[in-house]
Amino acid sequence: MEAEGRVPGPPPPPLPPAGGGIGAELPAIPPGAARAPLLGAPAEVLELDDEEDDLEVFSKDTSLAEANSFSPSMTISPSSMINQYKFEDEPELRDLFITVDDPESHITAIETFITYRVITKTSRGEFDSCEYEVRRRYQDFLWLKSKLEEAHPTLIIPPLPEKFIMKGMVERFSDEFIETRRKALHKFLNRIADHPTLTFNEDFKIFLTAQAWELSSHKKQGPGLLSRMGQTVRAVASSVRGGVKNRPEMFTEMNDYMETFSQKINVLDKIAHRIYKEEREYFNEMKEYGPIHTLWSASEEDIADSLKGVASCIDKCCKATEKRMAGLSENLLPILHEYVLYSEILMGVLKRRDHIQSELDSKIDALANKKADKDLFSEEIGKLEDKVECANNALKADWDRWKQNMQCDMRSAFTNMADNNLHYYEECLATWESFLASQTVDCHGEEDSEDRP
């Protein structure tokens, strides 16, 4: 069978990231500093525990009323959602705008699940209409992802949020969980829309436009689940069998890079989560700290105002900590998590490329052994050589694109984290400085009375 969608010719050149060129200035390297870690006070490193795997179960709470799938009112303006996320294409060049919002519960006899509203606005000719509104559930997103992987085995398909299942517990989806997932799904679709090749994929178009029953019937066509899984399984198996002999150097470098990157990004993800946890504990203690000073002020006269002032400062710093935590969980944590998923995706892509090449290599070996059917083999080999070349080029281009996006995302995520911390300290500084000013106004310099006889 042939996968849907255009067979990618030479892929279009990757668009430069917004706001930054590849020719950006590198910071001056201080003399004497090599790539080795700079010497300084060795930081005491706290042990990182393994995070538990999160799992989820469908909710069996039947107290929810069945919801209407289509609500005419649009609560969040799609354009405001689009502006939340930076993409490398200039807004004027984009002709496809997608939003994911409005999660709703649906209850059937068997299960309860959530659907999300997907709104598409487009000016493209191949779309019959310029606006679409459909409802999709997580399963549908999974289906789309696997179709894209099938059609473009060596392209980097964006990550989907994971299926979380609480071990053994039947848990309702929390609002926080649903919102996190919604944001991730929104990003997923938009990344596909921005991808020079994937954006024209036919299954993608059907996903965005088809009604529920149309999508169902379309899903039933095409190769089944088993065959879809088979491709990646075979790829993994072949790589386990001993790697690829004629792998071009470039892809070996990619593999080495991805192994290290994957390691590092996982550790960073853990660190960021640990910091969030410590900040939350700090916040909890601070909540109790301020009020003690207020309590104390009740038994004092002269110093009551100073005590109340300190209490108010601590409370304000407490709120500032809350903001800092929110910033972390809205920005850095999701991005690090996405790149953890990306690192798995990329390892898979590299394996699939290797697999495609090994098909070619084994056919060539077979030709060397069997003298018969030379012509037939030559034709097959020719096709396979094309396939390998296409795969390699697609991957190369997508890799470069991915690396640039990664750099951009990391830069913005960590800069944002630094900003968060800056705002926190600036706010706390202002609070304490104004307290200090209020104290020194009515404090006249006291001589050391201990000098007096």
């Binding site: 590849i22 200035e25 590198l26 910071p27 500093a33 790539r35 080795a36 870690p37 700079l38 300084g40 006070a41 060795p42 930081a43 490193v45 706290l46 290290t260 990157f261 590092k264 960073l268 660190i271 640990r274 910091i275 410590e278 900040e279 504990e281 700090y282 909890n284 203690e285 601070m286 700290y289 003690i292 309590l295 104390w296 038994s299 002269d302 110093i303 002032g309 400062c313 750099q407 990391m410 830069r411 960590f414 984290m417 630094a418 911390n421 800056l422 926190y424 300290y425 600036e426 706390c428 500084l429 304490w432 400085e433 307290f435 200090l436 104290q439 404090c443 006291e446 201990e450 000098d451």
Partner: protein, 408 residues
């Protein structure tokens, strides 16, 4: 190092006092068992009042914590109307995870050294306590001081705990101000210990936040090895993360000194209560003496007039078994009259004592209140200053880090 000049009544010169060193020692205790303890070096120097520049040589001697305790106990008993400055804690309390609870831990010993110096300075700057001979000898006389203290027999003068407890429950008419002061000192103790507990927990958490950031430094460095364009930004940002993580140590050490300032007033609460207890004891004593006098006077009256106002077993038995002879009655009355006279004199002097105590105690309490308000306000201000310094350091580090990140 703070130095304090103080006047000694009988030694009219100014003195500087410091507790400059601490040293680990081993020796044998009273039960001839080997023990380890810390000895503290007390240095004193007389300063000529005219020329501050001319200083006489430094005298020094070593004292251990138990000797400080002995000194304080002596002061408590000898000056019950004074709010006697407290000693630093015997064992480390309100610790958070980094601080050792070990008495031999160098940080603890250092903070105790400062606390002991502070104690001596408090006593030396007290208008009454600074004139005490035992205190002066503590500072200047190495050998035989313990014997000197014990010879004062102060231990005998000490009120028993039981007696004091009894008085607290039974006293009918204490001065209201002392009752209020007792409540205040209870509240002060409770709120400060709560505050110190939570502060320790906050410090623990803050430590965690800072130190985990140190992990970024290590990972950024390793990651930068595989990146071409992002490498420099990552590397230098990582360095700033290390700086950030390391900065918490000094910050929290400074905060410990703030905690020690609060702790001093936590312990002062107990000193306040001691003065209140003494008042209650004296007042109770007075009430008992007055009660005794009243009952004796009544007895006397009854015997004289032959009437029985109140029930007494003696009266009953004499009614039942016959009246006494007039001579016997006369003798009894005589004895009672003597006792009554004694009692009245005693009551008068106890009254005077009580009023003097209240007057001088209250004067010292007012002095203490002013000192407390000054010190605590200063401590709160210094806390704000510390927070400001911490924020400024944070701003600097994160500004640097942000710059590195933006160049990735």
């Amino acid at each position: 190092k703070r130095k304090i000049n103080f006047w000694m009544k009988n030694v009219s010169k100014k003195m500087e006092i410091t507790v400059s060193e601490a040293e680990k020692r081993t020796g044998r205790n009273a039960m001839n068992m080997q023990e380890t303890y810390t000895a503290y070096l007390i240095e004193t120097r007389a300063v000529e009042s005219q020329n501050e520049g001319q200083c006489s040589p430094v005298d020094s001697l070593w004292r251990r914590y138990s000797e400080f305790e002995l000194l304080r106990n002596y002061l408590l008993v000898t000056y019950p109307h004074i709010v006697v400055p407290p000693l630093p804690e015997k064992r480390a309390d309100f610790v958070w995870h980094k601080l050792s609870a070990d008495n031999m831990d160098p940080d603890f010993v250092e903070r105790r050294r400062i606390g002991l110096e502070n104690f001596l300075l408090r006593v030396a700057s007290h208008p009454v306590l600074c004139q005490d001979k035992i205190f002066y000898s503590f500072l200047t006389q190495e050998g035989g001081w313990k014997e000197m203290v014990n010879e004062t027999g102060f231990q005998l003068k000490a009120d028993s705990r039981l007696k004091a407890l009894n008085a607290t429950f039974r006293v009918k008419n204490p001065d209201k101000r002392f009752t209020e002061l007792k409540h205040y000192s209870d509240e002060l103790q409770s709120v400060i210990s709560h505050l110190l507990r939570v502060r320790a927990r906050v410090a623990d958490r803050l430590y965690g936040v800072y130190k985990v950031h140190g992990n970024y430094g290590r990972v950024f460095s390793e990651w930068s090895a595989i990146e071409k364009e992002m490498g420099d930004g990552l590397q230098s940002a990582g360095h700033h993360m290390d700086v950030y993580a390391a900065s918490i140590d000094d910050i929290l050490e400074e905060e410990e000194h703030y905690a020690d300032q609060l702790k001093e007033y936590l312990f002062y609460a107990e000193a306040l209560r001691a003065v209140c207890r003494k008042h209650e004891l004296m007042q109770y004593d007075l009430e008992m003496a007055a009660q005794d006098l009243t009952s004796k006077k009544q007895q006397c009256e009854e015997l004289a007039t032959g009437t029985m106002r109140t029930f007494s077993l003696k009266g009953m038995t004499s009614k039942l078994f016959g009246q006494e002879t007039p001579e016997q009655r006369e003798a009894k009355i005589k004895i009672l009259e003597e006792q009554i006279q004694e009692g009245e004199e005693q009551l008068k002097s106890k009254n005077l004592e009580g009023r003097d105590f209240v007057k001088s105690a209250w004067a010292d309490i007012e002095r203490f209140k002013e000192q407390k308000n000054r010190d605590l306000k200063e401590a709160l201000i210094s806390y704000a200053v510390m927070q400001i310094s911490m924020c400024k350091k944070g701003i600097q580090v994160w500004t640097n880090a942000k710059e590195c990140f933006s160049k990735m």
